[in-house]
């Protein structure tokens, strides 16, 4: 209840949550929402403008592309890929980054140096470039894309978790547990992990947003999953920008609004979970 109240007080957080709920709803119930089959080619209806322009037709809300496919239905279906890739790749990133951060911060010394040099070397390769190169030799399927985006974005977890563990391990209760001979793995998972959890939640939220953008960039470059995604609709619309501007415009708005919602929610979460950052 306290959370709901806090959410209602913060307008920004509320806007974020509403956008996220809408996005989730759209992705789950896509088949029920769409007025047309998103893959259905209908050359008789090709290049129809959005409904409010001259020549628009009532069931084609956002117009059609050059093959007569309904842009609105395609965008609705595209949300599924964004959602799936966004959430799952963040899980992959967390599964790599959190243990690395815990081990690096807890053990320190040589292990830490080695792991941190690996982190440094991944920072040196822009994550979109890393994803592109890995996809160059893996077939771009939904699974490989999730994996690739996860692998190229785990460093944020490793760095933040490590720096928090560095200060946490100096606390009395951790020292006490060590003196009592508690196993290292137990200290890391039971004493340290719960205390870095709020940071992990905040990074994850922002990471979902970044992953959605990365996925759409990859799709835009022709290395996305071979299904309808916001990036691929955009990429198809690019060749018809001068005549069918709506095909490339609306998926971009969908991406922007979704990412915006997640960023707003993430900002709000950071303020709520970490009162120290409040000015």
């Amino acid at each position: 209840m306290k959370w709901v109240k806090m959410l209602l007080v913060s307008k920004v957080g509320l806007i974020g949550v509403i956008i996220i709920i809408l996005f989730t709803f759209t992705a789950i119930f896509a088949p029920l929402i769409v007025p047309h089959d998103p893959t259905e080619v209908n050359l008789g209806k090709s290049s129809l403008p959005p409904i409010w322009l001259d020549g628009g037709e009532s069931t084609y809300l956002l117009g059609t592309d050059n093959l007569g496919r309904d842009v609105f239905s395609r965008i609705i279906y595209g949300s599924q890929i964004s959602m799936l890739v966004g959430v799952c790749s963040v899980l992959v990133a967390g599964l790599i980054g959190i243990p690395v951060g815990l081990i690096s911060g807890y053990y320190g010394g040589l292990v830490d140096s080695l792991l941190m040099r690996i982190v440094d070397s991944q920072i040196a390769i822009p994550s979109i470039l890393l994803a592109l190169v890995i996809l160059g030799f893996m077939n771009p399927t939904l699974l490989t894309i999730i994996f690739v985006i996860g692998v190229s974005s785990w460093i944020a977890y490793a760095r933040v978790v490590r720096s928090e563990v560095l200060s946490l391990k100096e606390r009395e209760y951790v020292k006490a547990a060590k003196t009592m001979g508690v196993r290292h793995s137990f200290i890391m998972t039971r004493h340290l992990l719960p205390n870095v959890f709020s940071s992990i939640i905040v990074i994850s939220t922002i990471n979902v947003a970044t992953s959605i953008i990365t996925e759409s960039s990859l799709s835009f470059l022709g290395l996305g999953p071979q299904s309808i995604s916001w990036g691929s609709i955009l990429s198809e619309g690019r060749d018809y920008l001068a005549t069918n501007w709506w095909v490339a415009t609306f998926p971009g708005i969908a991406i922007t609004v979704t990412v915006l919602g997640i960023i707003l929610f993430g900002d709000w979460l950071r303020d709520v979970l970490d009162p120290r950052t409040e000015v």
Binding site: A124, I125, P126, S127, I128, L132, G136, L223, L260, L264
Partner: protein, 304 residues
């Protein structure tokens, strides 16, 4: 001094790991021989080619050879361009640099006035508007922004060229596209830093001396915010390069981004390797310089 030397030594393992990653990508990408030889090549020819390329040797030996060659700037031949891979990459590098420098200029031109303005008009409508715009700038995928700019300025208003490179007009839209995300981040950072600086004692002293607020803001406060601005740009250089690579494909800008995406699609691995390594070395050097500069300019920072 010892710090600088230690920091330099840290770079070596990073370079080795990067080179290993780059090698690994190509190793995992499969046998390049099939792509290099004509389709009707006999088994003996394939075996021979593998020997010539050293592909019959164990993994670690292959990596050793790759590393040695890489240190000498030899990444092998591009089988598309029939030239030294590194040469092709270095030929494309200036175009990418040009785009990056232009986008840094654009982002600072946008961010400095906006960041300062929202800091001095803190918690007003102006501040709210600037803050929301900067979140929006972060949320937009840059390739989409690029396309929308083309739609508005090239297709509809016919003011600027759609794509390509040549005049300064060709540079405007790509620079805005690649610079917006950075501008958004700089604005937010500058705002919070300016707010902090403006509450410092020396600003109050300057005020009580009767100095005009213009002098205070631009001479005293902003100057102190420039260091974090430079640091943010340097630390974000990796993201900036990534953004530039994508922007290039939107505007057919003849830089590294276009080159590497073609190379990936064609599996021209020599070019991919050279590209990634050149970019990584560039990012490492910029980060190192920023780190050192930071410590030189601000001696309060501890050498840890």
């Amino acid at each position: 001094m010892t710090y600088i030397i230690r920091r330099l030594f840290q770079v070596i393992p990073v370079l080795i790991i990067v080179s290993f990653l780059v090698f690994l990508f190509v190793y995992l990408s499969g046998d390049p021989v099939a792509l290099m030889l004509p389709e009707d090549a006999s088994q003996a020819e394939i075996e021979n080619m593998r020997k010539v390329l050293g592909l019959d040797k164990p993994f670690i030996v292959q990596y050793g050879i790759f590393l040695l060659n890489a240190v000498n700037g030899d990444f092998g031949q591009s089988f598309i361009y029939k030239q030294e891979a590194l040469g092709i990459v270095l030929e494309r590098l200036p175009a990418t640099f040009e785009l990056m420098i232009a986008s840094i200029i654009v982002s600072t031109i946008i961010a400095i006035p906006l960041g300062v303005w929202s800091a001095i008009r803190r918690n007003t409508f102006v501040d709210l508007f600037i803050s929301s715009s900067s979140i929006l700038g972060k949320a937009m995928p840059n390739f989409w922004l690029g396309m929308m700019l083309v739609l508005l300025f090239s297709v509809t208003l016919q003011l600027l060229p759609v794509s390509g490179k040549g005049t300064i007009y060709h540079l405007i839209l790509p620079a805005i596209t690649a610079g917006t995300a950075m501008a958004a981040q700089l604005t937010r950072m500058l705002r919070s830093h300016m707010i902090e600086v403006l509450s410092q004692d020396y600003i109050r002293t300057a005020r009580s001396k009767g100095l005009g607020s213009f002098v205070i803001i631009f001479k005293h406060a902003l100057r102190n915010s420039m260091l974090p601005v430079i640091t943010i740009i340097a630390l974000q250089i990796s993201t900036l390069v990534g953004g530039a690579l994508i922007t290039e494909t939107v505007f057919s800008w003849p830089g590294l981004g276009q080159l590497i995406i073609q190379a990936i699609h064609a599996r021209d691995m020599a070019v991919v390797q050279a590209c990634v390594l050149v970019i990584a070395v560039f990012v490492i050097v910029v980060n190192l310089l920023a780190d050192l500069l930071y410590r030189v300019v601000d001696p309060r920072i501890k050498y840890n």
